[in-house]
């Protein structure tokens, strides 16, 4: 029945458009000036020329509205890692630059279109070349881009080169359809050897660790990622099935997890979860989200469904590479805390050697 109604409505819309066009055509015939040609005349040029100016205003308005509504870039100004502010600064510089270029080029494009709209009897200027001008607008972008490329490359190499002297804490991020695991390397700060061929579900060796590797014995496998604040971390990424991507937006960190190889990304978390929740921006954001959730809950309750839980901010690890059906819900909570809290937590976790189920 619904299907039938949909078809009927679509049909009516088509008929309506057809009729409007037909009426429109008839009105055209009844006017005295019969212009059979479908080529733009002065009237068309005037209307569309003015619309060009209107469209320029539209672009500016949509830009301003977007910047006002989302302009503080919730994830651009409060990085929770030490390298994050470098990315944010580079982003700011690039944004300002493209904002200026966008504003001016769009202005000239639409303003010229408006200003030089055609009229019978006008003749355009025959102006085919100006080497000086062209040289100018080749060389200026070249100079600007040289600066930008250099700035970008310096930032990139600073981020990607892991400084081994800082003795980073090694943690494995392990991806599978559709969840994450973290493996801490324990006191020796060395991850035990592993391969998916060693996975033994019956014995709870879920990450395929080499049971006989001494480095593996004190490894700790968890489903939550705890990080001590201010301590450099080096993540080693592994995937057991398909490509995943470990995306930690608050830390400006992302790296793909590739089956068959180990990838890495290092950073130093700089703000604890509790401190981040207290920043004015985050307080505002949480309040806003909770208001939205309360509204939504009202609707849900009217339908007899359960209300939504209130939202409390937590850092997240998201999957950001298409990985299958539940890709949209592959997440892990990240908790940044003081060294003391971290030590307490990690000591409560079971070491790999103790987590294995004995062979029957």
């Amino acid at each position: 029945m619904n299907t039938f109604l949909t078809i009927l409505i679509l049909l009516f819309i088509v008929i309506a458009i057809w009729q409007i066009v037909k009426i429109y055509d008839l009105t055209q015939v009844s006017t005295v000036v019969i212009d059979n040609s479908e080529i733009a005349n002065d009237e068309d040029n005037r209307i569309n020329g003015n619309l060009m100016l209107g469209f320029l205003v539209f672009i500016y308005v949509i830009t301003i509205v977007c910047f006002i509504r989302y302009g503080d870039f919730p994830l651009m100004s409060n990085a929770a890692s030490e390298h994050g502010s470098k990315i944010d600064n580079l982003m700011m510089v690039s944004m300002v630059l493209i904002f200026i270029v966008q504003t001016f080029t769009q202005f000239f494009l639409y303003y010229f279109a408006y200003k030089y709209k055609g009229q019978k009897g006008n003749k355009a200027l025959f102006y085919s070349d100006n080497h000086k001008l062209e040289f100018l607008w080749t060389i200026i972008p070249a100079i600007v881009l040289t600066v930008l490329i250099t700035y970008g490359l310096v930032t990139w190499s600073e981020i990607m080169n892991v400084d081994q002297d800082e003795d980073p804490m090694v943690i494995e991020l392990y991806a599978q359809q559709f969840n994450w695991k973290a493996r801490y390397s324990g006191e020796d700060n060395a991850l035990g050897k592993s391969n998916v061929r060693l996975i033994d579900i019956d014995r709870a060796n879920i990450l395929g660790l080499d049971e006989f590797d001494p480095n593996a014995q004190d490894d700790v496998i968890t489903t939550e990622l705890h990080l001590p604040v201010g301590k450099p971390v080096l993540f080693k990424m592994r995937s057991q099935d398909v490509l995943h991507s470990a995306y930690m937006p608050h830390f400006r960190a992302q790296m793909n997890c590739v089956p068959g190889m180990i990838t890495q990304f290092g950073f130093t978390p700089s703000v604890t979860t509790i401190d981040m929740r207290k920043t004015p921006k985050m307080v505002e954001k949480i309040l806003n989200i909770n208001n939205i959730r309360v509204e939504k809950s009202k609707d849900l309750q009217e339908k007899g469904e359960e209300a939504l839980d209130p939202y409390e901010f937590d850092y997240l690890l998201l999957c950001n590479k298409i990985c299958g059906k539940s890709h949209y819900n592959m997440q892990m909570k990240i908790i940044v805390e003081t060294q003391e809290e971290f030590d307490n937590w990690i000591n409560q976790q079971t070491k790999f050697e103790n987590s294995l189920i004995a062979q029957k």
Binding site: S37, A40, L109
Partner: protein
């Protein structure tokens, strides 16, 4: 070629051989008919499917929880009780991407206008090989049929994203769509690539060999330059995708391990060992990035031609335009790694690709500035084609500028695979190329069907589309900067993104209006094809050779002799002439300087 030189102008070519319905409309070897076939199969048919899919996705993103009768209607068993299945969402993402990029914007755009314009604007009777041209179209048609058929497969069509990264695309256990659906996808793409290669070779040979007397390379219209360079990039890069597809077929069906290694899935270890998914990414993007320019360059060419004609002014910096096309084409083949900054490849490679990628901004900037200068002090005729070309320059700038951000490896860390990327490439390649396509259709419709499109419907079509295009993709940058990943079936599992839900609804609103307004274009197209007003010989007062050819389609294009060319195609408003255009076949006056 010799056959055409001995062409007898006094005889009506049509009498030479009687054409049956089949040789004229179906297995035609005439480039104009083949162009129409590409237009109707590639753009009208596949375009409608592609856009419809995007609307279904947008509806799902905006109202993820609510059952929708539209889903039930279009998706049937994949939307039980009107709730879309998560797998089918990914399938829509995949098929929308594949259809729009390859079928609409590669075959539809290049296929239509390269076929129509290369012989006509060069002064050739037909393509170098009409037979190969026919084969090229029918291979394309076959690949279309297979691709559409794959949508109806029991376990669903391919759903690993249009980039079909293995192992997701290679292992059937990973995803329903990686079974028969993916096999058909690969077969279809294999045939598509064959079609594209045959077509491209034909274009290249025609441009090199069949130019009429006087048509020097530096007198070719920029459209032809763009199609020529597009074909060259296609010939260089498409075979690499073919090899990737073949190796993937080997991995899937014959037990090799080119792209796969150490996989444990659903409780079992697979036998693959020693391969690398990153290798596939390299092979894919070696085509995938040039592909962006295969889509964009024809649009740039069309915009050059349309803007110059309708401004009644020569295109500014003709030679700079050619050089920038060549520079873009060259650079496009050495930047593929910017899709892979965080794929796990060596960070040093990332630096190299950042460098080459940002260099593309230079020739692109030159092009944008040259377009704007062409408008300056013109006598602009706002035909619908002109509106779309101006819209093209606008979205090309907006979308291109964000490329400076994404091409910067350090910034890509945080923006990779977010909606920022979706907004960027839809503006710079999707919308821009679509504008180029529409511009071309409005401009050369008289050439295709000897009738005119209704201009007022064209104006409505452009303005609504233009507003919706910005309405959809401009705010999308901002939800991307807020960290929202793409390809999520619903965002409701992340309260963090709850404050973006409203924006998503607004975007969907614009998308629906923008999608439905294309019905006006479809109506205009189909109505005008049969009942449109008859076109005059040269409706836009253009200089290029196609407008000197017979408007009524005859085999061989020109009734009499092929016109000879004496000047470049952009002599608009040249001092010393009464008319504001001087076609290429008008001899130079004494002492006249070419340009």
């Amino acid at each position: 070629m010799s056959e055409y030189i001995e062409f007898d102008p006094t005889e009506d070519h049509g009498h030479h051989h009687k054409e049956t319905f089949i040789t004229k409309y179906i297995f035609s070897q005439d480039h104009k008919m083949i162009a129409k076939q590409y237009l109707i199969t590639g753009v009208l048919f596949m375009g409608v499917i592609g856009i419809l899919m995007s609307l279904l996705m947008r509806l799902q993103i905006a109202w993820p929880e609510e059952p929708n009768i539209i889903f039930e209607f279009f998706l049937g068993k994949w939307a039980p009780d009107g709730v879309m299945d998560a797998d089918i969402y990914l399938a829509l993402v995949t098929m929308h991407g594949t259809i729009m990029v390859f079928f609409v914007l590669t075959a539809g755009l290049s296929g239509t206008f390269s076929n129509l314009l290369i012989p006509l604007q060069l002064g050739a009777r037909d393509m170098a090989s009409g037979f190969l041209n026919m084969i090229s179209f029918w291979l394309f048609f076959l690949s279309t049929v297979i691709m559409v058929a794959s949508i109806f497969v029991e376990a669903g069509p391919a759903a690993a994203g249009w980039t079909i990264y293995p192992p997701l695309s290679a292992v059937e256990l990973a995803q329903g769509g990686s079974g028969l659906g993916m096999t058909l996808w690969l077969v279809s793409m294999g045939i598509f690539i064959a079609s594209s290669l045959i077509g491209s070779l034909n274009y290249i040979v025609t441009v090199i060999n069949l130019r009429t007397k006087g048509m020097k390379l530096t007198r070719m219209p920029l459209t032809i330059w763009a199609f020529f360079v597009t074909a060259i990039i296609g010939v260089i890069s498409f075979p690499v995708l073919l090899s990737a597809a073949l190796l993937l077929i080997m991995d899937r069906s014959f037990g090799t391990s080119f792209f796969l290694s150490d996989i444990f899935i659903q409780g079992e270890v697979l036998h693959y060992q020693g391969g690398s998914p990153v290798l596939f990414e390299h092979l894919f993007w070696f085509l995938g990035h040039p592909e962006v320019y295969i889509v964009l360059l024809p649009a740039l060419g069309i915009a050059s031609e349309v803007i110059s004609t309708n401004s009644r002014k020569p295109i500014f910096g003709y030679k700079a335009m050619i050089l920038s096309i060549l520079a873009i084409a060259f650079l496009s083949t050495i930047v593929w790694g910017h899709h892979m900054f965080i794929s796990g490849m060596n960070p040093f490679l990332g630096s190299v690709f950042t460098f080459t990628t940002l260099l593309i901004a230079i020739p692109s900037a030159v092009k944008a500035f040259n377009y704007i200068t062409t408008l300056w002090k013109g006598n602009i005729q706002f035909n619908p084609a002109m509106l779309f070309s101006i819209g093209f320059v606008s979205t090309f700038i907006t979308g291109g500028l964000t490329g400076i951000i994404l091409g910067d490896s350090a910034l890509d860390i945080n923006l990779h695979d977010t909606y920022f990327v979706v907004a960027h490439f839809h503006l710079v390649m999707g919308i821009s190329a679509l504008y180029g396509l529409f511009s071309g259709v409005y401009h050369w419709f008289p050439m295709l069907f000897n009738r005119m499109l209704n201009k007022n419907l064209g104006y409505v079509h452009f303005w609504v589309t233009a507003i919706c295009a910005y309405g959809v993709f401009f705010p999308m940058h901002f939800i991307g900067m807020a960290g929202l990943p793409r390809r999520y079936y619903t965002n409701s599992n992340f309260p963090l993104f709850d404050d973006l839900a409203d924006t998503n609804k607004i975007i969907t609103g614009f998308a629906i209006v923008g999608g439905l307004i294309q019905i006006v274009f479809l109506y205009n197209f189909i109505y005008s094809m049969f009942y449109g007003k008859k076109s005059p010989q040269n409706p836009w007062k253009s200089n290029t050779l196609e407008w000197t050819a017979s408007m009524k389609h005859i085999h061989g294009n020109w009734q009499g002799q092929i016109p000879e060319v004496y000047r470049w195609p952009y002599d608009y408003s040249k001092p010393g002439y009464d008319e504001d255009f001087v076609p290429q076949n008008i001899p130079m006056k004494k002492g006249e300087i070419e340009y």
